[in-house]
Each structure stands twice: as C-alpha cells, then as structure tokens.
C-alpha cells in the first residue's frame, strides 16, 4: 500500500484553498439567503453561521477538520480500467472525467485516508458530490474495498461519509456491480469485529443508499440531508401526488427508524471520537485541541 504523506501539506493546502476563496468574497446561503464571508463559512465547516444550513464540503476539507491537527495519510486506491464500456452519450465518458478532474482537482469521487481523531486511529472514506455527482463506479468500489482492507489490516474502525446521486451510468452494469462489491467490503469489517460507521451527507441516493451507505453499525446523517433510494421527482411522477414537507430528509428518516442519529457537522468529530472509542473498548477521550500526531511513521 502506498502512502502519500500529508504531514506538511495541511498548511499549504489551506493557504491554497484560501487562494481560491478570497477573504473578501461573499456568498449567499441557500438556506436563509444571508450573505456570508467565504472565510466565515469555511471556518464553520461550510455550515451557515446564521441558519445552520449545511452546504457542500469537499472530502479533503472535511478530513482537514476531522483528523487531529488536520493530518492524514491518503490511501492509494487501485486504478480501475478507464472507460470499460467505451460509453458515449452526448459526450465521451473520458471527457466527462477530465472535466470533473479539472473542476475538482481530484482524481475521482472518493478520498480514503488513515489518521487519528482524538488520538483514535481510524480509516476514513469520503465521497465527493462535486465530482460527477459523487457517482459510484469501479473506482468508488475499489476505494471502499481498499479502505476496508486497510482497516482490517490495522485493526481500525472505518468511518464513511457518503454523498452520491447514485451509480455511475457511464459504467453501466459494472457500476451496478459495485453494490455487491462494496457489500463484500462491509462484510470484511464485520467479520474482523471492526466498527463501520456511516455518515450520510446531502444527497445520498440510489444504489449507494441501497448498499454500503445503509449497512453501517451506526448510521448518522447530517441535518436535512436527502437520503433515498428513488428520488422525490421519480416518486411524484409515479404516484402522481405531492410529497409531504421534509420527505426523505434526514430528520424524516430518523423518525421512521432508518437512522441512529442526525448530527450537526460541527459536532460530528466529537461524536465519532466517542463512538469509535466506545465500540473499540478504548478509554474515554481527552478533549481539547490536540496537536498533530508526532513524527512517528504511521503503522503499516
């Protein structure tokens, strides 16, 4: 397994990301319409300081905030073959990929990393909705399998942040086959007795919800996240009636017994630390701002 060290990079990265969102720029909250400084939003994990609306956050930014001292080691994901079906719609699939890579600066729609949260070693995986709708194809399948294998190898819990419009149509049946493939990954964790915690973020739909995103030991969602198999529009077309307010939102699922918790993003790290430590039978956490882990090389 290759490790790409992020030890020195968080600072540089945060400077880099600030370059893209200059401090003097304003943004309007989709939830309440309040004008907010970009800086204000990013310091608050992209949660509106006025109404608490949870906006999109990239996997990388999420990890900087999640891991102790913003330090994590990216886990390499075996590359699937490119464009397995030679798929063409109005654009070629490789062209769509290139455009997504350019606009996100990421290789694909999932990031996997090892690191510590509150001095608790974990593996984390996060899906990027801004990369082709976070769609699940061979790469996402490989990423989840790599994450599970690494978790089993190191005896760590896996925390997975889901976000996807569903399967990646451009990979046809092979995207559908990621449902059983990722389910095998979840089974590896279960057999090793390791916690698998899913954090469902907005939106998580389709085949993703109907596989790894619904198989966690603990299921948490961010507030107001849309979580469903069939989307509201498809359902309205099928049953020809208006759906109730809040249908398929996190709070609605909680009420219907489909989730354990709905948790504000700003409280998520704390809850994940508590959960993983209890499930791993570790002593209670020490709270406070933890510095980055020392210079020790991560266990292999």
């Amino acid at each position: 397994m290759n490790w790409i060290s992020n030890y020195v990079r968080p600072r540089i990265n945060s400077i880099f990301s600030r370059r893209e969102t200059p401090e003097n720029l304003w943004s309007k909250c989709d939830g309440c319409g309040t004008m907010l400084f970009h800086r204000e939003i990013s310091d608050n994990l992209n949660v509106c300081t006025s109404c608490g609306h949870h906006m999109h956050i990239t996997p990388r930014d999420r990890f900087y905030a999640l891991f102790d001292g913003g330090v994590f080691n990216e886990i390499a994901v075996p590359e699937p073959i490119t464009d397995p079906l030679q798929f063409r719609d109005q654009k070629r699939y490789p062209d769509r990929m290139k455009a997504a890579q350019k606009s996100t600066g990421e290789k694909e729609s999932m990031l996997v990393a090892a690191g510590e949260i509150g001095r608790t070693p974990i593996i984390a995986a996060a899906q990027d909705f801004s990369f082709m709708g976070g769609s699940m194809g061979m790469y996402v399948g490989n990423a989840i399998i790599a994450a599970a294998e690494e978790a089993v190898k190191l005896g760590r819990p896996l925390v997975l942040f889901s976000a996807a419009g569903g399967a990646r149509m451009q990979e046809g049946i092979l995207s559908l086959m990621q449902m059983p493939r990722t389910t095998v990954a979840v089974q590896m964790l279960k057999e090793a007795g390791l916690p698998y915690i899913v954090v469902l973020t907005h939106p998580t739909t389709g085949g993703v919800t109907a596989s790894y995103a619904m198989l966690g030991d603990v299921q948490i969602a961010e507030p107001n996240a849309l979580i469903c198999f069939a989307g509201p529009r498809v359902i309205e077309q099928t049953i020809r009636e208006k759906l109730p307010e809040g249908f398929q939102r996190a709070e609605y699922l909680l009420e219907h017994g489909m989730l354990d918790r709905v948790t504000d993003r700003r409280e998520m790290r704390k809850e994940l630390i508590m959960l993983t430590r209890m499930l791993m039978q570790m002593p209670p956490p020490t709270w406070g701002d933890l510095p980055a882990p020392g210079n020790e090389t991560p266990a292999k």
Binding site: Q90, A167, E171, T183, G207, M214, F229, I235, L243, H256
Partner: protein, 320 residues
Amino acid sequence: MTHYLDFEKPLAEIEGKAEELRAMARENEDMDIEDEAKALDVKADALLKDLYAKLTPWRKCQVARHPDRPHCRDYIDALFTEYMPLAGDRAFGDDHAVMGGLARLGDRPVVVIGHEKGNDTQSRIERNFGMARPEGYRKAIRLMEMADKFGLPVVTLVDTPGAYPGKGAEERGQSEAIARSTEKCLQVGVPLITVIIGEGGSGGAVAFATANRVAMLEHSVYSVISPEGCASILWKDSDKMREAAEALRLTAQDLHRLGVADRVIPEPLGGAHRDRQTAIAAVGASIAAMLADLENMDGKDLVDARRKKFLSLGSKGLAA
C-alpha cells in the same frame, strides 16, 4: 391473439394475411389456398429469423418486456414438481411482486424466489408490475435464511423493471431492504443461482442476483438504469432510449462478455413468448446444470467463491 412489437409490424402483416386466407378457406371448402398460405408462412419464418438474428439492444428490451413472455409463475408451475408458497416479511406485510417458497426440482427440495409481473390487468396491479417493495426483499431475506439453515439451494428468477419508487416503500426503508438482501445473498452457505428471465432492473435485481452463477435468457436485459431513464438524464431526452440502450451494454451477450452473466440460455426463434414450453425447458436444464456445477462445494467454499467472483468483476471491461 399474438401481441406484436413495433418492429414486428411487417411480420404481423404477413402472418395476418396467412391467417385470413385460412379463415376464408374454412368457410368456403372450394377454395384452395393452402399453397399460398404456406408460401406466406415461409416468408414469415424467414423474416422472423432475420429480425431476431440482429435485434438491437433496444429491441431486446422490448422483447424482454413482452407481455406474453413466460413469467416467474410460469417457470415455477412448469419446472417444479411441488411448490409451497411462503408469505410475509414478519414485520409489515406480504409483497405480491415477489413470489417465493419451498419447491422440489425433481426430487431435490430448493428455495425459489422471484419477481412476478402478472399477465393481465388485474394480476399486473396485484403484482405491482413486478416492482417490489421493502417487504418483498425482506421476505426474500427470510427465505434465504431458511434455505441456509436447512441446507437447501436457492434459485432466484429475476424479472423486474426495478424496485418500486413509492412513498410507503421509501418510508419503510427500500434502500435498507435491498442492501440487506444483497448482503444476505453474499452470506448464505448454500448454492445460490439466478436466471434473469426478462428484465434485470437495477438494485431491485441485484438484491436477488448476487449469486454463484447467473444465467440470462438470450433476449433478457440487465442494467443499472432503464434506457428511458438513462436517456432522460444523459441525453435530456427520453426518446433517445435506443442510443442509451446501445451505450449501456445491457444485453445478455454483452453481459456475458463482461463476466456478469456466466451463461446465456438460447431462446426459441422469435423469443421465449413464441414457444414458451421450449423456453421454460431450456431454463430448467440450465438451472439443473448450474446446481450440478456447485454440488461438490461446501458452505464456506460457496461463500468465498461468490465473494471472489464479485470482487474481481469488471477488472477487464469489455476486453475481458
């Protein structure tokens, strides 16, 4: 009454003419039309052969959805000497879109599970057009657990446009039910085999088709999304379903190349609906062969082999 698909129109004309001639001859004994009618039969046969030799992916979808195609119930009735339907998910209800129970294949008891679409207006509504709700998947999970407990092989017959996109289905956890059914497929320590007899619609199909062996009827399809759905999303035009069907590689032949289908079961000329008995017998033979294939494997081998199969899927794409 034969139900003709749109691309079978020329065929309908020829067969109609032959039928008309014969009807006239029945009323008027002096008429000698047999030669002419026979010539039309020959012409119809040739056309049928021609049409079905080069079915486009979209036409295959139409054949796979043909209303006269044998459905799950037809296969169960014909192939099993005994069938004891078992109902309910023990939590909410019984889903009639999913049939299942104990059955005997020759002397051998098995658990059979499948989607049933219905064959007339009333039964289609009752069966919800083969679109299962969470209760259907949970019934299947229960039956797979029973099979596992008593060492019975599981045979699944897949024929669904997809899981039902309804309000209640979502409220009762459609996603969770499908995810657990797929998980259960991967856990059972007994042979699990699948035949896709018509439409393999997305997650609703995977939930039953995560099997040691997957066979597809020659003109069946299996896809991540319907061609119409894909067209409306990627082409922003649901009339582009022909292009979408092409791009998705959803035919039994492409899926065999990709390793998703282990075998393709030939259909009678003109599709399973033209000669239901032959089609049903071919599926029966295939089920027997697939079960025989797995006979010498123990529970752990079966689980390991199933996992390995799915983990390695897709590594080579169409070049496989």
